[in-house]
C-alpha cells in the first residue's frame, strides 16, 4: 500500500510521470479500439506485421529529422500494400506473404537504425521508453487518438459490415479495399504512438490482448470497443505503476497486466464459460 501512496505522490510531483500516464492512457484507448477491429477481421498476424514493418520508417525519420509518424505511415502502408500484392498476385497464402514481407521490413529497419543511431535508442524503440515522453510526443499521441476516434465514429457502419460480411458489402458497391487500407493506415499511426509506450515488440499485445479480453465479455460491437479501450487504459495505468514501483520496463509491465486481465476473463467470463466447459469435458 505504501508503494501506491508513493506512486500518487510522485504523480503529483513529477511532470514526466504525468506525461507518461497521460500517454499510456491515450495509447490504451486507441489500441483497444483499433485492436478490436483487427481481431474481428482475423488480422492479428497483420497487426503484428504492420507494427514491425514501421521500423525502417522510424529509422529514416530519425536519420533525416522529420516526424516519425510520417516515416512510419509510409512504411506501414507500403508493407500492407506489398502483403496484399504478393498474396493476390500469386498462389501464396496471405499469412505466408505477411511473414516474408514483415521480416524483410524489420531487418531493413534494424540495419538502418544501427547505421543511424546509438544502441540505447534501439533499445527504447524495441521496449518502449514511456518515462521519456516529450510534450510534442503527447501532442502527437493526442492527434492520433483524435484521428482514431473520428475514423471509427465516421466509418463505424463500414468497419462493422466489412469486418463481418465483406461479400455483402461488395454487392452494394462499398469499396472494401479502401476501408481495408484506411484501417491499415490508422493501424500504423496507432503503432507509432504505442511504440513509445510499450515498444515495437509488444505493440501487438496492446492491440490484441485488450480486444480479446473484451470479446470474452460481450456480444455487442459498441460494448466491445468501449470495454477493450477500458482494458487498455487499466492495463496502462496499472502497468505504469508497476514499472515505476519495481523499476520494470514499462512495456512488459503494461502487457503483463493486460495478459492477467485476459487470463481472469478467460476463467470467469460468461461467454468463455471455462468452468462449464471443464465440467462437460470431465463428464
Amino acid at each position: 500500500m505504501a508503494s501506491l501512496i508513493d506512486f500518487f505522490n510522485a504523480l503529483g510531483k513529477y511532470d514526466f510521470l504525468q506525461s507518461a500516464l497521460l500517454t499510456a492512457i491515450m495509447v490504451g484507448i486507441m489500441s483497444g479500439i483499433i485492436g478490436s477491429f483487427i481481431i474481428l477481421r482475423g488480422m492479428s498476424l497483420m497487426g503484428d506485421a504492420i507494427s514491425h514493418a514501421v521500423l525502417p520508417g522510424v529509422a529514416v525519420a530519425y536519420m533525416f529529422g522529420f516526424n516519425i509518424l510520417i516515416g512510419a505511415s509510409v512504411f506501414g502502408v507500403l508493407a500492407a500494400l506489398l502483403i496484399g500484392f504478393v498474396a493476390s498476385r500469386s498462389k501464396i497464402k496471405t499469412d505466408t506473404s505477411i511473414g516474408v514481407v514483415f521480416s524483410a521490413f524489420y531487418a531493413l529497419g534494424f540495419i538502418l537504425i544501427s547505421m543511424a543511431e546509438s544502441s540505447t535508442n534501439l533499445h527504447h524503440i524495441l521496449f518502449g521508453n514511456i518515462l521519456a515522453v516529450s510534450d510534442s510526443d503527447i501532442m502527437t499521441t493526442a492527434v492520433v487518438l483524435g484521428i482514431v476516434i473520428l475514423f471509427v465514429v465516421i466509418f463505424y457502419k463500414e468497419l462493422l459490415v466489412t469486418s463481418f460480411d465483406e461479400t455483402y458489402a461488395k454487392t452494394y458497391g462499398l469499396k472494401v479495399q479502401v476501408i481495408h487500407y484506411a484501417l491499415m493506415l490508422v493501424l500504423t499511426l496507432v503503432t507509432v504512438s504505442a511504440l513509445q509506450t510499450v515498444g515495437i515488440i509488444l505493440v501487438v499485445a496492446m492491440l490484441i490482448t485488450p480486444a480479446a479480453t473484451a470479446f470474452l465479455w460481450t456480444d455487442k460491437l459498441v460494448t466491445m470497443l468501449v470495454l477493450s479501450a477500458s482494458v487498455g487504459v487499466v492495463s496502462a495505468i496499472t502497468g505504469l505503476y508497476f514499472s515505476y514501483t519495481f523499476n520494470w520496463a514499462s512495456g512488459p509491465a503494461i502487457v503483463i497486466v493486460a495478459a492477467m486481465l485476459f487470463a481472469l476473463s478467460f476463467v470467469f467470463s460468461p461467454k468463455q464459460n471455462f468452468f462449464k466447459l471443464k465440467r462437460s469435458v470431465a463428464r
Binding site: 474481428l40 463505424y156 469486418s163 463481418f164 462499398l174
Partner: protein, 246 residues
C-alpha cells in the same frame, strides 16, 4: 428483365462456362438447377460483379449492373461467416439498410422500423437480441432473408437457400419469395432439390458448364433436359416416380 449476354467466366485457363446467354423475368421466381460444380454459383457471382467476367455483359432493364448495384440483394450459399462475431440478429438485419444509406449516414428511425418489420415477416421478432451464433441453420437463413427484405431490392438472388434448414424455415422463406413475386421483383434461386422444382419455380434455368435449357419450369423440366444435365439414371428415377404417383 435481367439480361445475360455472351458471358464467359474463368478462374484459371479453362472457363467454367462460355458464351452464356439467359434472361430472367420480373414477376417470376426463376430456379437454377444443375449438378455440383456446374457453375451455378459462379454465374450468380459474375452477375453480381463479385467475379470479373472474361467476356460478355449483364444488364437490367437496359442498364449495366454497376448502375443498379443498390437494387440487388444476395443471400450467399452456406456462408462461412464468423458466427462468433459480436452482432445480434437485429443489427445484422439493419446492415441491409447500409447500401441505400451510403457513407456518413447512420440508420435512423425509419431504418430500424424497416428491420423490425422484416424480422416480423420471417417470424423472428423474439430473437432480435440474440447473438447470431445462437441460432439454428434455418433461423440464420431467415435472418439473411430479412436483411434482403430490408434492402428493398428489385433483384433478389439466393444461392441454395434451403440446404440444411428445417421445413418451417423453408416454408417461411418460400412465402417471402412469393410476396416478392407479387411485387413484380426478379427472383433467382439456385436450387438443389429436383423434386420441388415445378412446385417452387415459374421459370427454370438448367446449367451444366453452359445453358442446357431455360424457359417456363413445366416445359423445361423434362426427362431429356435432366438426362443431359445430370444423368439418364436420375432422369428415369425422377420421372417414373412422378408418373407413378399420378
Amino acid at each position: 428483365m435481367l439480361n445475360v449476354k455472351g458471358l464467359t467466366v474463368a478462374y484459371d485457363d479453362t472457363p467454367v462456362f462460355s458464351d452464356v446467354a439467359v434472361k430472367f423475368n420480373a414477376g417470376k421466381i426463376t430456379g437454377i438447377i444443375g449438378p455440383n460444380g456446374a457453375g451455378k454459383s459462379t454465374l450468380i457471382k459474375a452477375i453480381l460483379n463479385l467475379i470479373k467476367a472474361r467476356e460478355g455483359q449483364v444488364d437490367y432493364n437496359g442498364q449495366p449492373m454497376k448502375a443498379v448495384q443498390k437494387q440487388v440483394a444476395y443471400v450467399e450459399q452456406r456462408k462461412d461467416l464468423d458466427l462468433t462475431f459480436p452482432i445480434d440478429v437485429f443489427d445484422l438485419v439493419l446492415t441491409g439498410t447500409y447500401g441505400k444509406l451510403g457513407l456518413f449516414k447512420s440508420p435512423g428511425k425509419a431504418e430500424k422500423a424497416a428491420s423490425r418489420s422484416a424480422l416480423e415477416q420471417v417470424s423472428l421478432s423474439e430473437f432480435s437480441k440474440r447473438q447470431i451464433g445462437n441460432l439454428s441453420g434455418g433461423q440464420l437463413q431467415r435472418v439473411f432473408v430479412a436483411r434482403a427484405i430490408v434492402q428493398q431490392a428489385e433483384i433478389i438472388i439466393l444461392d441454395e437457400p434451403f440446404v440444411g434448414i428445417d421445413l418451417q424455415s423453408e416454408t417461411a422463406i418460400m412465402r417471402i419469395l412469393k410476396q416478392w413475386r407479387d411485387e413484380n421483383k426478379t427472383i433467382i434461386v439456385i436450387h438443389h432439390d429436383l423434386n420441388k422444382v415445378t412446385k417452387y419455380f415459374d421459370d427454370l434455368v438448367i446449367l451444366n458448364h453452359g445453358i442446357v435449357d431455360y424457359g417456363p419450369a413445366n416445359e423445361v423440366y423434362n426427362p431429356k433436359n435432366i438426362e443431359s444435365a445430370f444423368s439418364a439414371d436420375l432422369s428415369s428415377v425422377l420421372f417414373q416416380e412422378k408418373e407413378g404417383a399420378q
